[in-house]
């Protein structure tokens, strides 16, 4: 962790227009919660559905994508990253710092609104609010790591990231039973299920597997990103 790099990264991520993208999705989640409440569809079942499909299914991967690629991809694109890389700081430390910035931003922008939205609907009933808040935290951290790695590995991080979030996490992970074992949001829901006693939330992955997978994916992505940064090359486009 390097304080100077973290400071610059936070400013690049939050000081620009990107912050509105980060704000937009949580605002939509809270608006949906208010709407459900107003029309009286604020039962536990509806709450769990909103959490599962929107908070974890849509908001979380997109926030992870915006923050994860946002901490590194634009800098690699325009070459400003050289300012950080041409310094006597090990590249893995730079990758870890970028990850911590992305993870903390996703944690803040996903966990708090998730908890609030569920609380707005059913209070602390059946531990739904805290369960999904924890799920948003661990899932968001994993997404931040994966998408940061993507930002280091490819120049098309956002396109690939959206395709991954929509096709794999959205469709395959939801529809193909076997693929669920390899989906960040399914692991996150497993964590939510563990905390929550809600009858409407059921998952089929063992907690041990989900927790291990989340840990391995997060750490693995950060380590890999560090290794890739060690071989960062400026291609000779004179």
């Amino acid at each position: 962790m390097n304080g100077v790099i973290a400071g610059i990264s936070y400013r690049a991520l939050l000081g620009r227009r990107r912050i509105w993208l980060l704000v937009l999705l949580p605002v939509v989640l809270l608006a949906l919660a208010v709407l459900l409440r107003v029309i009286g569809a604020d039962g536990e079942r509806a709450t769990v559905e909103l959490m599962r499909t929107f908070a974890i299914g849509i908001m979380l991967p997109l926030l992870g994508l915006i923050a994860g690629t946002g901490v590194i991809a634009p800098e690699i694109d325009d070459g400003t990253v050289i300012h950080l890389l041409a310094k006597p700081i090990s590249r893995p430390v730079i990758a870890q710092t970028k990850f911590l910035v992305a993870a903390s931003v996703v944690a803040l922008f996903a966990t708090v609104p998730t908890f609030l939205a569920a609380y707005l609907l059913i209070g602390l009933e059946s531990g739904v609010a805290s369960g999904f808040a924890l799920a948003a935290l661990v899932g968001g951290v994993a997404y931040a790591a994966v998408f940061m790695l993507l930002g280091v590995v490819t120049r098309h991080a956002v396109t690939i990231g959206i395709a991954y979030a929509v096709i794999w996490e959205g469709l395959v992970g939801n529809l193909v039973p076997g693929a669920r074992r390899f989906s960040v949001q399914q692991w996150a829901q497993t964590v939510a299920d563990q905390v929550s006693s809600s009858f409407f939330l059921s998952t089929e992955i063992a907690l041990g597997f989900a927790a291990t997978a989340l840990f391995v994916v997060t750490v693995g992505a950060v380590v890999w990103a560090g290794l890739r940064l060690r071989s960062f090359s400026l291609t000779g486009d004179e």
Partner: protein, 304 residues
């Protein structure tokens, strides 16, 4: 400190960008001269640790440069691309550089570096409001903040106005005199000549020539020059010129005479005398191949 390149090559797929280059960059100012696309940036990126050589080795006083972040304690790099964090002020940018180097007194170092490039006045403005030349200078300040022994600059004078250019040239010369190892790339001979004691010429990825600016100048002058001459009697002048050994070949064209002078000095001395003796009035003498590109291609053909 010395940067040593031993039989360094770099290729992209089938394209060879740098071909078997061996050179040592020592203390003082070295200019890396070559036309656009000659592989200057590729070579400089390998010296700066931002590209792995496909073959050969690039070392700094014997230490490998690629994948070694410790070298940045000794190396300062000014990249060609002008992108910098636009939302930072010049002061914040240079200060961040000092902090990333973990200097004992980052404020002092940043202040000193900004003073060196005469950017104290604009230091509190955001970089996105800077002109291209100011960005260039603030990048130089960020690269100098840790007082590196080695400074690498990629086309540093691009986009600077004449006054800024002179000032940076002066700064580079001073640092060279102080014993730092400085390398900068440029495609403009006059630029390189004014600053560098040592010039390395790169053409089409190959190391075409090496020497001080006199040596390079001499090699560029002592080559067959092609002149176009128009006179009152081209035929008569041609026969008078061909008699002397300094004119390699003379051909009569619609537009006048084309003379390939083997000995540049003798030819310029000879032409007016021959014309006078032959009673021919010379209207125009113009060099036909003075552009840098043809000079470079001559150098590469001779070294190859």
């Amino acid at each position: 400190m010395n940067i040593e390149l031993a039989q360094v090559s770099r290729w992209y797929g089938n394209v060879v960008a740098v071909n078997d280059v061996t050179m040592t960059i020592g203390p003082g100012v070295t200019g890396l001269l070559g036309p656009n696309g000659a592989g200057k940036s590729t070579l400089l990126h390998m010296m700066a640790g931002f590209l792995a050589p496909s073959g050969g080795t690039v070392t700094l006083d014997g230490t490998r440069i690629w994948q070694n972040h410790e070298i940045y304690r000794s190396i300062g790099l000014v990249p060609e691309r002008e992108a910098v964090y636009g939302f930072l002020t010049g002061w914040q940018f240079v200060l961040s550089s000092a902090r990333l180097h973990r200097l004992p007194n980052p404020d002092d170092a940043a202040r000193k570096a900004l003073a060196m490039v005469e950017m104290e006045g604009a230091k509190d403005r955001r970089i996105e409001t800077y002109s291209k030349g100011m960005r260039q200078r603030v990048k130089v300040a960020a690269a100098l903040v840790h007082d590196p022994q080695v400074l690498l600059l990629d086309e540093p004078f691009n986009g600077m106005d004449p006054r800024q250019r002179l000032h940076l040239m002066e700064l580079i010369r001073e640092m060279g005199t102080a014993g730092k190892t400085i390398l900068f790339s440029s495609h403009i001979l006059e630029e390189v000549e004014r600053v560098a004691q040592q010039i390395e010429v790169l053409v089409a990825g190959r190391h075409a020539a090496s020497g001080d600016f006199r040596e390079i100048r001499r090699r560029m002058t002592d080559r067959p020059h092609l002149f176009r001459v128009r006179s009152s009697d081209d035929r008569r002048l041609a026969s008078a010129l061909i008699a002397d050994a300094s004119s390699g070949s003379v051909s009569l064209t619609e537009a006048g005479l084309e003379v390939r002078a083997v000995d540049f000095r003798r030819f310029t001395w000879l032409l007016p005398r021959v014309a006078r003796d032959a009673g021919v009035r010379v209207w125009q003498v113009s060099p036909a191949d003075e552009d840098l590109e043809s000079v470079f291609s001559y150098l590469i053909n001779r070294s190859g």
